[in-house]
Symmetry: C2
Subunit: 668 residues, 2 copies
C-alpha cells in the first residue's frame, strides 16, 4: 500500500477537477468547507449516521461476500441477481473517501480496499458477478452486464480517496482496470462496444484529469461517440421491449434533440458528454449538452427538480408528461442531475445551471433520505392519495433501511460527503458563490488566494452574511459574484454597512472592487412564499398551484390535516400564506399556513334516464349539471368547510406516519 503523503492535497478535494487546458469558464475551488447551518447539519448526519451504517448494510446485503467469492476468500452462493452489486461498495467508498478529508477515515476502508485488490484479476478486470456467476465471461453482454459502469464507479472512488487523502492504492486498482478496458475497447482493439449503463465516460475523463494520461480521454470520447449505432442491439424479448433508448443507443448524442430513455443512464452519459466537451474542446458536443439540458428542463422536469416520469423502464417519459402520483423521480437521477448541471455551470459560467442544482439539492435529492439519515426512498412521487396501498419492494413510498437494488443510498452519501465542491467556483477575476451555506469558500489563483466566510440560516432566513477572509495583499480589484436565484422576487445588499444598489446580470451579482480582508457584505434574498403554476402543457397539474419559499418546494401531508383526506382539498390563493419557523418540527422547518376548504360530498342525485347525463355510479357528469351544482355550493358554503392548510418542505415528507401527500394543490 502506498504510504500517506506528507501534505494532503486539500486544494483538489472535489469530484471534478478540469485541467488547465479545459474550456471551462469557471474552475471549482478546493478550499471550501461547510461548517454549520442547514447543510452543515445534513453533512453531520451523513458523516455520523449514513456513512458509518454503510459497511454493515453492505455486509448484510451480500455485496462484500460477493467480492470475497471473487477473491477466493469465501465460499457459498453469490447473493443478489444484479451484475452491478460491486458499485454499492464503490460508491460507499467514494463517500467515505470524501468524508476522510474532514475526519479520520472510516475504519472499514482499508479492509474494503484490500478485498477489492484481492478480487481484481491479474490483468485488471474486476466484476464479482461475471467472475463468480458467469465463469469469467467478459464483455459478452454489454447491454446488461454493467461491467464498464462498475469500472466507472471504481475509478471515481479511487480518485476521491487520492484527492481527499493522497492515498493512491485504490486509484492504482482503478487504473489497472481502466488500462484493461483501454486495451480491449476501441479502434485497433478486440471490442467495438459501449456499456448499457453509461458512467465510465465521466469517470475516464476524471481519470485523465487525475493522471494526465490522454488515453483515458480518448477512450471516454470513443464511448460517447459510439452510442446510437446499434452496438447494443437487443438480443432478447426483455431488451427488445425496453428499446434502444433504455440503454442510450437510440441516437448519436451529437444529433440528439431531447433527453430520452432511462433517466439515470441519460444523465450519467450527459455528465460524461460535458466532461469530454470541456477537455477535448469539442463545440459540437458542448452544443448538444446545452441543447439537451434546455430541453430536459423545459419539458421533463418536475417542480422539485425530479427527473424520470415512468416506473416502466425508468424512462424520462414524453414531453410534459409529469404525473404526480406515479412520478418515478429516482433519487439517483436527482444526484446525477446535480453532477451534470454542475459540469455545465463550470463550462459555461451560466447561473441557470446552479439554479437547477439548488432546486434539485433542496428538494429532489434530500427527499431521498430520512431526517435521521437511516431510511431511504428510491422513488419520489409528488402525490400520494388517500388510502394509498403501499406496495412491497424498492419502489414504495414508505422509507426503508436499504433496497434490493441499493444504488440510491450511497449515491446520496457521496454527494453529501463532497457537497462543498458544488457551492463555489473561481475564475481569473475572482470568486463565485453558487450556493449559500455557513462555511468558508476560497481558492488560489495566479493573483493569489481568495476566500470568504459565510454565515447564514438559509434557506429558513434569506440573510447571508459574507466576510472577506483572504485576498491578495495589494489592493487589486477582484470580483465577488453572488448568484441571485431566478425565483427571487427581490433582494437587499449592504456592503460595509452601506445599502448598495446592484443589478444582477444573467443571474449573477458581480461585485468588483478592491476587496480587503474583513470587508463585510450582507445579502438578503426575499423568501416571500410564492405560488407556482406549470406550463399549460403539463396536463397533470392544470388548475393547481405549488407552494414555494426560497429554494424549497412545499407539500401538504395528511398527518397535518386530521379529519379527512387530501383528495378533496381545495386551496384558496387569495388570503395568502403566513409563515412560522418551528424548531421542534421535522428537525426545524419553516411551516406555511394558508386557507383551504374541502369539497363537499360529490354525491350526485342519482337520477338516471331522462336526466342530464349523470348516474350515481358513474364518475363523469355533464358540464351543465356541475355548473349548477357549483352555484348551489358556492351559495351555501358553511364556515365549517373552511380549514387551515399546513404546508411543510417537500424534502421532509414521509418522516412521520403513512398518509396522503400532495405538492400541487387544486384551486377550483
Amino acid at each position: 500500500m502506498a504510504s500517506r503523503p506528507q501534505s494532503t492535497p486539500a486544494h483538489r478535494a472535489g469530484p471534478l477537477q478540469p485541467t488547465a487546458d479545459a474550456r471551462c469558464a469557471l474552475r471549482p475551488v478546493g478550499r471550501s468547507r461547510i461548517t454549520g447551518g442547514f447543510w452543515g447539519e445534513w453533512r453531520r448526519i451523513n458523516a455520523e449516521v449514513c456513512v458509518p451504517q454503510g459497511p454493515a448494510l453492505l455486509e448484510a446485503a451480500g455485496n462484500l461476500h460477493n467480492l470475497r467469492l471473487a477473491a477466493g476468500q469465501a465460499e457459498g452462493e453469490y447473493r443478489g441477481v444484479h451484475p452491478f452489486l460491486d458499485t454499492d461498495v464503490y460508491k460507499w467508498l467514494e463517500a467515505a473517501a470524501w468524508q476522510a478529508a474532514d475526519t479520520d477515515a472510516a475504519p472499514e476502508l482499508d479492509a474494503m480496499i484490500s478485498l477489492i485488490a484481492a478480487a481484481q484479476q491479474p490483468d485488471g478486470y474486476l466484476n464479482s458477478w461475471f467472475q463468480v456467476v458467469k465463469g469469467g465471461e467478459r464483455y459478452r453482454d454489454l447491454r446488461w452486464g454493467h461491467e464498464l459502469y462498475c469500472a466507472g464507479h471504481l475509478i471515481q472512488a479511487g480518485i476521491a480517496l487520492h484527492r481527499s487523502t493522497g492515498r493512491a492504492e485504490l486509484l492504482a486498482i482503478a487504473r489497472r482496470f481502466a488500462d484493461q478496458i483501454d486495451s480491449t475497447f476501441g479502434p485497433g482493439n478486440a471490442v467495438d462496444g459501449v456499456c448499457g449503463h453509461p458512467e465510465v465516460e465521466t469517470a475516464l475523463v476524471e481519470l485523465y484529469r487525475e493522471t494526465g494520461e490522454p488515453r483515458y480521454l480518448s477512450l471516454a470520447r470513443y464511448f460517447v461517440d459510439r452510442r446510437g449505432y446499434g452496438l447494443l442491439a437487443a438480443k432478447d424479448r426483455r431488451a427488445a421491449e425496453a428499446g434502444p433508448a433504455y440503454c442510450q443507443d437510440h441516437v448519436p448524442v451529437r444529433e440528439a434533440t431531447e433527453v430520452a430513455g432511462h433517466a439515470v443512464r441519460q444523465l450519467y452519459l450527459l455528465a460524461g458528454v460535458a466532461d469530454v466537451a470541456a477537455e477535448a474542446d469539442d463545440p459540437e458536443l458542448r452544443a448538444a449538452a446545452e441543447r439537451l439540458w434546455a430541453e430536459m428542463v423545459a419539458r421533463k422536469t418536475y417542480v422539485t427538480g425530479g427527473l424520470g416520469a415512468h416506473h416502466d423502464e425508468e424512462d424520462f417519459g414524453d414531453p410534459y408528461e409529469l404525473p404526480n402520483e406515479r412520478a418515478y423521480c429516482e433519487t439517483c437521477a436527482a444526484v446525477a442531475s446535480v453532477q451534470w448541471s454542475w459540469r455545465m455551470a463550470l463550462m459555461t459560467g451560466q447561473a441557470k445551471y446552479s439554479d437547477l442544482v439548488e432546486r434539485t439539492l433542496y428538494n429532489a435529492v434530500l427527499a431521498g433520505v430520512s431526517l435521521d439519515g437511516e431510511r431511504w426512498l428510491y422513488v419520489n412521487p409528488l402525490q400520494v392519495r388517500d388510502g394509498y396501498r403501499h406496495p412491497d419492494g424498492d419502489h414504495g413510498v414508505r422509507r426503508v433501511a436499504w433496497f434490493r437494488c441499493a444504488c440510491c443510498p450511497p449515491n446520496v452519501m457521496r454527494l453529501l460527503a463532497s457537497l462543498p465542491h458544488y457551492f463555489a467556483s473561481a475564475d481569473d477575476c475572482g470568486l463565485q458563490l453558487h450556493q449559500y451555506a455557513t462555511g468558508r469558500f476560497g481558492d488560489e489563483s495566479a493573483q493569489g488566494a481568495f476566500a470568504v466566510r459565510v454565515v447564514t440560516d438559509y434557506p429558513w432566513n434569506g440573510r447571508i452574511s459574507i466576510v472577506v477572509d483572504e485576498c491578495p495583499a495589494k489592493a487589486t480589484p477582484w470580483t465577488l459574484s453572488l448568484r441571485i436565484p431566478f425565483w427571487c422576487n427581490g433582494f437587499r445588499l449592504v456592503i460595509e454597512g452601506e445599502p448598495t444598489e446592484a443589478v444582477p446580470e444573467d443571474g449573477w451579482l458581480r461585485l468588483r472592487r478592491a476587496w480587503r480582508p474583513g470587508d463585510a457584505l450582507e445579502l438578503e434574498l426575499s423568501l416571500e412564499p410564492r405560488l407556482a403554476v406549470a406550463d399549460p402543457r403539463v396536463d397533470s397539474v392544470r388548475g393547481c398551484v405549488a407552494i414555494e419559499r426560497g429554494p424549497l418546494v412545499y407539500c401538504v401531508e395528511g398527518v397535518d390535516h386530521p379529519g379527512g383526506g387530501l383528495d378533496d382539498l381545495l386551496f384558496d390563493p387569495a388570503p395568502g400564506l403566513t409563515e412560522k419557523h418551528d424548531p421542534t418540527l421535522l428537525g426545524g422547518v419553516t411551516v406555511l399556513h394558508g386557507s383551504g376548504r374541502r369539497r363537499g360530498t360529490t354525491a350526485l342525485d342519482g337520477a338516471r334516464g331522462g336526466g342530464d347525463g349523470a348516474a350515481s355510479w358513474w364518475p363523469y357528469r355533464s358540464l351543465g349539471r356541475v355548473i349548477r351544482a357549483k352555484a348551489r355550493a358556492d351559495a351555501g358554503i358553511a364556515a365549517a368547510e373552511q380549514f387551515e392548510l399546513t404546508a411543510i418542505p417537500y424534502y421532509a415528507w414521509a418522516n412521520r406516519e403513512d398518509g396522503p401527500m400532495r405538492v400541487w394543490l387544486p384551486t377550483s
Copy 2:
C-alpha cells in the same frame, strides 16, 4: 369425430347459458341476429377480414407449430417465450365457432381441432409449452404457468362450437382436460392451488352449464375461494416485485373492497365470481361482485370504459389515478369488462351493467381494432402528445397486424362473433333490449315465443324502429323493456303511431301490453352532443371536458387540425357543437365541430433575478405573472388564434396517419 347433429341448437347460441336453477333475474336469449347497421358492418368485417386472417397469423407466429411439436407432428424449436401461446389458437377457434352459426365453418377449423386432439396427452393434460419446453413438468409453476388459464380458453372454445353447430369433438377434448384438472386439484387431490391468471373459473361454470356435471361448478367455486391465501407466493425477484395482487392472491375475493392488480386477471376472475354466485346461489359472492363493480366504475374507469391505468404490471392503478397519455386500457380488459358486466346484468336485471357494456363496446373495445379489421391496438391511451415518439413493441399506439403477445386480437374476434348474445334478454314477463342494433331479437319461454325486429341507424341516429315479429297467439300481456341509456337527456316514444308518455324505472322503459305481431314502436333517443367532466378527484383531467354523443366518446386528432399541435388547444364550450354525418370519412361517422383556440406562444419574457419568479428556461411560473399575462392575452385575442375544432369518435382514431390525439380538452 362426432357427426353434425341434424338440428342445430341455435336457441343456445351464446357464451353464457345459466341453468334453470341459476339465480338470474334475466336469461340470455338464443335467437338473436344482427343483420345490418353499425354492428352489422363490424360483424361483417370480423367475419370477412379478422377471423379469416387468423389461421395464417397463428401459423406465422408459431402457435400452430408449437402444438405440432407437442403432437409429435413437427420438429424444431419451440417458438415464443410465453406459456400461454395455445390460447391464441383457442380464442380464434371460439371466434370461428360462433361465426359458424351464421356461415359455413372456417375451412381451417377441422385441422386445428385434429391438431389439438393429437397434442393432448392421454390423461387429458394439454399445454404445448410445458410438454415441449418443460419436459412434461406440470402444475409446478402455477403463478406463471398459465396451464389452467389455457384450459379455460379451450373449454370456452369447445362450448362455443358445441352450442353454435352441435359439434362435440372440441368439447370432448376440453372435458378430458377439465377432468384431469378436477382429479388433480382441490380437496382430496394432490394439488391445493390456483392459477396465476384467472379464466378457468368462468369456463368451468359454463362447462357445468353445458354438461350438467356438478363437479365443474364445485371446482370453479374452489378456485374462486382459494385465492388470497398465499398459494401463489412469489418465489423469485420478478414475482416479488409484482406482488400478490398481480395474480389475484392478495385477498379472498369475498373480503375484497376494491379491484386491484393486473386488470385482465381481476376481470376474468370476477366474471367467474358472478357465474359461481348465480349457479351456486351464493349471496356473499354476489355482494362481493356488486361491491367490486361499483368500486371499479366509480374510481378506476376511464370515460371510454377502458380499465387499467398502469403499464407497469398492467395494474388497475390507484383510485382516481387515470393518466391519459399512459392509460394502459388493454383491449382484453375491455372485452373482459363486457363479459363480467353482462353476467351482472343477467344476475341482477339492473340496467347500469348494460350501460357500461354499451360504453365499453363502442369505445374501449372498438378502439382496439382498425376500421378495416386488419390492425390492432393492445393499449388504448386517451392522449397522444405532439411529437410522440412511437415505441417499438406491443405497447405502442400505432396499429400493427399482430402482437408478440397476441391475446387481444382473438379476444375481440370472439366477442364480435358472439355479439348478438349481449344485446337482448328475457324473463317470464317478456323481452329486454339491452343494446340497439338492426336485427331480430327473440326467445322462447313457457308462455311461447317472443321476437322483435329492430331497424336503426344508431349510434348515428337516435331513432330505433321496433316491430313485434312473434308473440304468443292469444292476447296475453307481456312486457317489452327498452333500456334508456343513463346519458340520454330525453327520448320520444311512439307506439302504433301514437306519441306515448312513459317513464323509465331504473333505466328500463317497461312497456306491458297485449302485444301482437306487427305492432310497431319507435323510440327516439336524444343524441344531442354532451360535454362531460370528471369527478374532481381525477387529477389528470382537471379543467377539461370530454365530448360525447350518444354512446360514443369523441376525440380530436392531429390530422384534422393542420398547422399545429394539440398540446396548446383550448376548447370553448360556450358556442356549443354542431354535427354533420360524413359517410365518406372513417367508414362513415358523425363529426362534431366546435370552437377552440390555441394558446399563444407561452414564451416568458426571460427576465431573471429580481423578477417575479420566472425564467425563460423554467416551465413553472408565479401565479401573479400568469394572471397578468392572461389579462393581456384576453384583451388581445386575434381572430386568427380562433379555429374550428373537429372531433371524431374515439374508436376511429389512429386510422389515418400518426399524430397527436386527445379525448379530454382543456377549457382554460
